[in-house]
Symmetry: D3
Subunit: 316 residues, 6 copies
């Protein structure tokens, strides 16, 4: 199907295109008439939309997670576009290509897979290498499609592996600058620290927390997974396994961020720092991209609710 | 051997008896002469001791964890006894009975074992019951000899099981008063919440933290153990297992006390309260026991560093 | 009058019934027309309601605290009922029975009174018993009708006494399990700790804080009351009175929750725990009751803003 | 008796004088010989002292709170004097004048009494005036002899009244500058806020906390006292009494400093500020007095553990 | 122009007057029609206003900061006036007097200037006096027109100087009561502590933070300014300059309020207290002024979000 | 002079060598005899030392900061060496080479200088480059000899420049990995952030805080310096200067660590992270160096008081 993407929308255009519903809320106007507010999305962005006079018979099979064909008009208020829907109808999933509707990594799955496997192959200690390899192979499909978070940083298809690869590069730079760091331990921490997200989150699209995610969390899930894999390989009584489990448990760096133990060896301490740097650079880049020079971003909650400035002097 | 126990010591007595060394520190007097400070212990208490003129040749094989024969004098300063050692010599372990030198539960191991196994047998859900049973049987010897902590509450031989049994009674009382509580879940939480101490701590005597204990902690160790046992019984995909893992993870009740998730169902919330009540009652009873009516205890660090009062009016 | 209760409301029903107004707010629609939003309530629940075209002449004597006759229609949006009012008129208080419009304890006032007086009678120390008796007799009518809080836990007619009785049962269970606890002191704490609510709150219906409640608080009010009653009975110089005042002052357990002193004897420490257990069980039971198995409650602010899970496995 | 005061001590002097014992601790030298460390005091200061070879028969009736005759030598180490005692003996209390041994206010008791009574007389509202008058008259002897604290600020005979008078002056200055302040309320707060110290503390010399002081605290004691006096004068239902009780309860300004309610009217807010200013100025003046220009004081714990600087430029 | 001021508005009046726009937001009604919400202001107050059917051609040159002629009707809902605009048009700035539209100090600029300059003249130390003088003369126009804050306390034309003068009076009172205070240092702190607001804020009307204000803050700006002026007068190596810089840096009193160092001499400690007293009295007076006796103010965010009570007893 | 260095000391050796006194405390033995405790140091380490029978006539000119000739004996207790001094005498400074007695960077001053100047030369923006150059040239001698802190991290001669160079390398790595980072701003932050230490600290040896350091701190000192230099170059009104001042002010990352503003552009955010990584790696390396595999370090206060583990598995 020949789509108009959200990035191409122009004020006052009449548009017919296909979009993914990510949120949907029914409301009543002050005169008691029903309406529906949607958030619609494709891989280029998202837009708020309203359907007025929303009789229920028009809404059959229209729900979050569905791709729909909409016919409407682009309006602009308070510096943002809004979409007024005239008609909406469900599209057969055979007619649509999921990758048109979700943001995804700038890296291809193939590149991510070969990078991560090459990194595993570069590990020297057989126990560390063996366990990392087994877990990554077990999870294979999901490692390259899951996001790193339901929202905030790396919240796109392939975000988890993108985050891992950036941290591998950071870790390698630090191992060069600080030779006392043990690369095997630091890289093992990078590879495993967030892999529990594969169980914590529901999937790459319309990502939510699973019951296990809510009640146990990715930190505890992956720590138990390492124990489980270590037993299956008869490595359970090695120091390496204890160190790998500690890297996972401590990587949030403090109790209030959900680490039950604080980092207690130098690679664990550094893992927390490089995780933070990459997550923060990802959020900053995303937030600063649409901002003009000389302006501030909106407040960014996970960056302690600060607004960040984009310097103006380079523009001149 | 015919021992004089520490509780029987009287000021200015000359005493010959056998005691366990729990701490030992070398020092130099201001005139440069070597001396040694000991903490000596039997099941009735402990005492600070000094050996002046401590030539190294007299100290061969004298180290923490050994039972020694001491000959010395009981002195009293600042309201506490101190022991001045004239001679010290190692005793053959064949000559000594370990239980003479460490405090232990008022409950017998046999009673504790039958109580706990009867409680396991009373569980209704087969998955919850099966997992609890397997773990308790696996750890059997240790469940009834380990303390519940290296210091603070229930820090004696059998302390862990003593704590479990008191909490079972508390849990049963609460299930009667609040019928909406699920007894299986609450009892499972009681049975498992602290069992990771068996890996976290070195043993019932001269208890220290193991490397696993320091780097992983009893909460994470037991959570992974439940996962491991669940897999071995093919229960890993049941809600019950997720709930049991959550009970363990959340039982400290807040991030700053090392729980990576907060209690998220009612039995998890209540588990934290009854764990606290029993631990606090144990510490209060121990601290108040030697205090006279109308006086305050010394400051108790794990009770927020408070001193507690023992009312005087009942004495009259 | 033959009422339709809120629990009986069905979507799209036209209903004529009587309800209590608990909140009332005037607004202007976007076209400048006046409307009124109400919260209406009976003992089975409450519902949001709207009166469109709300001319002031129709609203005479219509205000919070009044029972009104409404004629309207039940609508459903976002999984909740809303009531659209066609006509509204005041009812003569002679025609209405207040107990139809407010939630109340599952215990009868008679049962609560006899339970509490029997507990007072069971106290052994004459000073503790005498003071508790005098205060409870002084406040008699109010002890059995007041809620334990304006909102949150036990916020219904008779909630205060319901909370006291549950805590008496908890205290008795703990005294059995921990014989070192002094039952007189613990029960006195249970009976008196929240009685200051009788001065802090305005009454059992449409409960608000009084000026004394805001400026002094129930903790300080009751502490001063015990002093006042002790003087009237010539008990002011006894240790028992100081201990009772301390139980009241310290029962919130920490400075940030408004206790000016921390618990300093064991019954004071335990009082804080059983107060918490009963208040939390009350809030959890209320929040979980309408939730389906396998779902989470809404966030509960006084439970640290957590959502609680209702396990699904029992349903199967 | 003709005394040498501590301020007159010179290094290496042999001195015979009378001093008050405020602390006394027994110890053992490394060679096992008994010694005693004392803190000795007169109204000009205090000094650490040691009695070597301290046989118990020499120490009969020698205890904290007693005035003793000492014969010894003044030594200097680490920039501080130390007193080596050769002989020590008890003095008959008939021979000693208590005011020689304790620091006291620079104001006479007569001046303090007339100032405070004149301030009471200047109050306009009869209820506020009546209650302040009755309490101050009830406590009369103690108001002018008690310290304002066991340590920290105004910790000398008459310190409480000295603090009250300074705060009266501060309050009057503020009432001039901010005419919206109600002088009656602010002055009532000044007069009553710390009077509970009369029950919280044991007395003007060797001041300790009473049981009531530890379990209830001066804030709660005085609040209950105002309630008690108000009832005796039949003022208990007036707003003035509620406001006076609130002034006392809130004057520490925050929960963590033991106020169960925060200041909720402007005079309560200001009371906390002027209490702080006068207490801090008292501690600063005392700490800076012995310090040379260009130097810092020792760390002052109640001033957030800061060291304060005494500027040098004025000296030049 | 003959204006009707906001304080003169009466419900249901039709009014034609001139007002300053301080905020302006475009919206869409539920039927998709554009409207505009304004906040309009004159020196007597401000009012919310709505323009329905807000076609863009009517809004040319209508923007925040402009004075406009409005024709409309005064409505009242929820105890507040709202203004419904029929027509709106821009006024030529030649026709309007800015001082009609903004709140300003009760003190005249002439009085403020002579007071502050007289205070500078009263300083004794030539270095302190010289630096204060130079900075105040440099900033002259702005010192007497800037507010002390964009919102909260002293947020009106001349607010900064009004705050300085009140603090000078407070400082002089304290220097009388505590002769150990060095008046030069305390007054220098009063004069300089907030002068950085002249760079931090955009101006006296529609006050916003400048880029320097956001990235550096008034504390750091003024501290650097004192250094700069000291160099220009060759005073940079004097202790007085270091003390003046410290007074500015520490005047917020704690790290979390943006002071990079804590007060370390007594005048710095006291400066923080008198700054707080004057700011808090200003906010309290403003908040209490419209409140009736016996009522509470709305919550005041910078006063720890408390509501304050206005006593009723004086009214009777 | 032919020295024996501290690293060469062997138990029970009699040694004559020269050492620097860094601390010196007089004491009294229990028998009243004077002694002196020293900390002595050379570039290979430090050692505690005692001089018994320390008559004052032997101590003339012996004070911290002096190099002395000592004759004594090496003793060992509690796993640490102690030095018993028989005789001590001052050495003429002409006879001693200061660099023998203090630890210093593994980088030569020449290398550090050329690295840092090359980095300055690589900056592109003329304003940023000009200001960095001027400040570094102004401070030249001190930049390459000062430590980065009086204790904790990089506390040795040349520590400040060593820290700068490691951070330059880190910054360059990050600029490669995150191309959105502006290298000029990040490098300017690295060069300037800690240069205020040159005024905050007394010098490279026996480092203490200056009065300016205590009252103003290195953050505020350097921020004002940048303002001062910018004025001298007529750059004061450029955005670059504001950004450079912000980098310095915010580099501690949070209020409680003394930053008066939080990082508000991405290079400021990252500066805080790389400062932390390099400081923490320096402290970890220093603490882990003497620890055996399989052991923990002592608690490290600035690393949140944690003990760090040195893995054992690599040793095998």
């Amino acid at each position: 199907m020949n789509r108009v993407s959200i990035k191409e929308f122009v004020e006052n255009d009449k548009v017919v295109t296909s979009l993914l519903i990510t949120q949907m809320n029914r409301g009543l106007t002050n005169t008691g008439a029903p309406y529906v507010s949607f958030t619609l999305q494709d891989k280029t962005g998202n837009i708020e939309a309203k359907l007025w006079d929303a009789r229920e018979e028009l809404l059959e099979d229209i729900e979050p997670g569905k791709v729909v064909l909409v016919n409407g008009e682009v309006l602009k208020y308070r510096n943002a576009f809004q979409f007024r829907i005239f008609t909406i109808s469900k599209l057969d999933s055979a007619e649509t290509n999921p990758s048109d509707y979700v943001a995804s990594s700038h890296l291809t799955p193939e590149f991510m897979k070969s990078s991560i496997l090459a990194t595993v192959a570069s590990l020297k200690d057989p126990i560390i290498k063996g366990i990392c390899q087994k877990i990554i192979v077990d999870y294979e499909d999901k490692v390259y499609s899951y996001p790193a978070a339901a929202r905030n940083h790396h919240d796109f298809v392939g975000g988890l592996a993108t985050h891992m690869i950036a941290m591998i590069n950071l870790a390698d730079s630090l191992c060069l600058l600080y030779p006392s760091l043990n690369r095997d331990l630091l890289i093992a921490g990078v590879l495993l620290h967030d892999l529990g997200k594969v169980n914590e989150l529901s999937g790459p699209i319309l990502t939510e927390y699973t019951l296990e995610g809510k009640l146990l969390g990715h930190i505890s899930l992956m720590q138990a997974k390492v124990n489980e894999v270590a037993i299956s390989m008869n490595y359970q009584d090695t120091e390496q396994v204890t160190l790998m489990r500690h890297l996972i448990l401590s990587h949030h760096g403090s109790y209030e961020f959900g680490s039950p133990v604080l980092p207690l060896f130098q690679e664990a301490e550094i893992l927390n720092y490089i995780d933070n740097i990459d997550a923060r650079m990802n959020m900053l880049t995303k937030a600063l991209e649409p901002v003009e020079e000389g302006q501030f971003t909106a407040r960014i909650f996970p960056l302690e609710n600060r607004s960040f400035y984009k310097p103006a002097y380079l523009k001149k």
